[in-house]
């Protein structure tokens, strides 16, 4: 049996900032949803179902916030699903919404992800002690720093690569009006002089803590035909998971990430991702994850990812731009970060990415991961409706 082709016809984001004191959680999510509806030129009545995602409920202190948010998102009388797959959740949420359309269960679905981190403290929300289990060691940085070290040791990458990524992403963010960090005076020297937090990760190589939401309208062929602006078509989407801790796990390049990317490429008919993909929105919360994921996703051979970064291949004007939006390093409302990657990839192939548009982007990838590099969600979107 064939799946229904799925199109992205509406995208809305909030301006991401450290603290949105002017809106409630409901006000924040509604802002993104209304912008997505306006982009698609649709109304609440056109939406058949709502799929919402966010990272742990402890980040805002609201258990199952979908219950409280049903009214704000026009979901009353409709189906509403709440997805939670750790840091990959923004991506997984979009994929669950995509499946509703692909399975022809619903025709037009609103999907949204958010985090209002200013309502709480994400670092300590992640650090609640658990008896008999390894704690996450004071936030995510403490968990991931040793794996970055392992990557450097394994590949011989010079210790300058991480700062190049941060410098690039923060400059890209200056072209994105929705990005949280707009550091107009950023220099490579400033990144390199920033304090060391979790060796080898410096302050300027880490993501900020943001309030923000991202929404998308997904629809079927008929819905796409009515779209006032070019749709982005989903050519492939997949999720993969593996355990957080076990002896055989490769934290530098997890098998689940490789398998997930391979599944997406198979669905999209891609054999050489480096040449066939025009832009990548990659989940890079700590700068070193760019070279690491370049290898994990098959854009570079093992041990070679850092060379692409160093050679400028991933710059806005390189031949494989990574995070033209500024990425997670510039904007991190955790639960929404994955969906922003998916949405930014869609903006690129719709030609709607504004100042950070990659010329002639025809195929773009959105990538998200979460947990202890345990959960992966990815999609590949294109300007053309998929064939077959």
């Amino acid at each position: 049996m064939s799946k229904e082709p799925v199109a992205v016809v509406g995208i809305g984001q909030t301006k991401h900032v450290a603290a949105r004191h002017d809106v409630s959680i409901a006000g924040l999510v509604r802002e993104a949803a209304v912008r997505a509806l306006e982009d698609a030129e649709l109304t609440w009545a056109d939406i058949d179902a709502v799929v919402i995602g966010k990272a742990p409920d402890f980040f805002e202190g609201v258990m199952m916030p979908e219950l409280y948010l049903a009214d704000a998102l026009g979901a009353v009388g409709k189906p509403m699903l709440r997805v939670h797959t750790a840091g990959s959740v923004g991506g997984s949420t979009a994929l669950v919404a995509m499946n509703l359309v692909a399975a022809r269960v619903h025709r037009t679905v609103l999907t949204l992800a958010f985090e209002k981190q200013s309502e709480s403290n994400a670092m300590w929300g992640l650090s609640l002690p658990v008896p008999f289990q390894q704690p996450l060691l004071a936030g995510a940085g403490g968990f991931f720093a040793p794996h970055v070290r392992a990557y450097m040791r394994r590949t011989g990458a010079p210790d300058t690569v991480g700062s190049l990524v941060a410098y690039k992403d923060r400059r890209n963010a200056l072209k994105n009006p929705y990005a949280h960090l707009h550091e107009s005076d950023i220099t490579l020297e400033k990144v390199q002089a920033s304090p060391m937090l979790w060796d080898p990760i410096r302050y300027s190589e880490t993501c900020p803590s943001s309030d923000g939401a991202c929404a998308m309208i997904l629809t079927d062929r008929e819905g796409a035909a009515r779209s006032p602006r070019p749709p982005a078509w989903v050519h492939g989407g997949a999720m993969r998971s593996e355990p957080t801790l076990f002896a055989g796990k490769d934290f530098v390049s997890p098998q689940a990430g490789k398998d997930c990317a391979a599944d997406v490429y198979r669905q999209a008919g891609i054999s050489d991702p480096r040449r066939e993909i025009d832009a990548v929105e990659m989940y890079v919360p700590f700068s070193w994850y760019e070279p690491m994921w370049l290898e994990n996703l098959g854009f570079a051979a093992e041990g070679e990812g850092w060379k692409l970064t160093e050679a400028g291949v991933t710059e806005l004007d390189g031949d494989l731009p990574v995070n033209p939006s500024g990425g997670v390093l510039s904007t991190n409302p955790i639960g929404a970060s994955g969906m922003i990657r998916f949405a930014e990839a869609a903006l690129q192939v719709r030609g709607q990415a504004g100042e950070h548009q990659i010329a002639d982007a025809r195929r773009a990838m959105g990538h998200a991961y979460g947990g202890g590099a345990q959960f992966f969600a990815m999609w590949l979107v294109g300007a053309e409706q998929p064939t077959g």
């Binding site: 409920d57 509403m80 997805v83 499946n99 593996e242």
Partner: protein, 355 residues
Amino acid sequence: MARTSRHARDVAVVAFAQSDHRRDTDELSEVEMVMPVLHRVLARTGLKAGEIGFTCSGSSDYLAGRAFSFTMTLDGVGAWPPISESHVEMDGAWALYEAWVKIQTGEADTALVYAYGKSSPGSVRDVMTRQLDPYYLAPLWPDSVALAALQARALIDAGETDERALAAIGARSRTSAETNPHAQLRGPVPQGEYQVAPLRTGDCPPVSDGAAAVILAAGDVARGLCERPAWITGIDHRIEAHGLGLRDLTDSVSTRLAAEQAGVFEGTVDTAELHAPFSSQEVVLRKALRLGDEVDVNPSGGALAAHPVMAAGLIRIGEAAARIHRGESDRAVAHATSGPCLQQNLVAVLEGDRT
């Protein structure tokens, strides 16, 4: 066989397993509680974790008291090599819905769905207040029993029920649970004192720890795994406004709407497994689902006999399916709820092949 599916693929529940639900499980981690149930449900089909097309679970970090609690529980599945997997921060019934959608896309033929909740480490009445509107309602800490009592009072005031009728629901549920070895409260249990009037102890669910798992399969795969698959001929879920003042608490519009979409009213139902944690909520659900006295309601004992939060809805689907597997039902309705006073409701119709 007069079964008509309204979707592209015929999908059935082919196996169900659950833990013995208990007041506390201090000696068990969540993984240790979930793993035997996963092993049992897989053993019923002969499938191995690696042969499952899609895995989805439901749970709540707030019960566990820590962020990302489900990331550790996934270890109980044996997620290596990497699996296609997802999680909802909802009752496992919604995880089953996500899995059913995945099978409808054609990308999977089988799915493993599981859910678990340990209420014992905290005060579940206090914990559930955190799911209310965080700015206006949650700071008042109105607990789940108090909110259900408001609903019960509205029902009594509307002449829909009275305290004796509610007591009879509690008594019937716990008597039915006598034949359910997994139930927490079995046999006649005194109605007890008022918790929050008009609800007495017997009108309220026990505090339970527990887990459940279901395997879904499509078409011929289902027939190969189960002698009499419980076909999901319809499934739908709807949410209502959060504010209790915006709803008629004596009715469940979302349950009725989900039931219409799932096709409940297009045939005769012989069994209903309703996720009604409070006796008064059974009154509301019976009306919304138009269940007459001839329907066997909650033969498992229902949520009044065991209420592992997050798994209780999935258990309703599993119990209804198990009756079809055993030939005790031909067409059953299963229901799950979430939120204060039945805010969100899922309804599934399960049917067995008739010879």
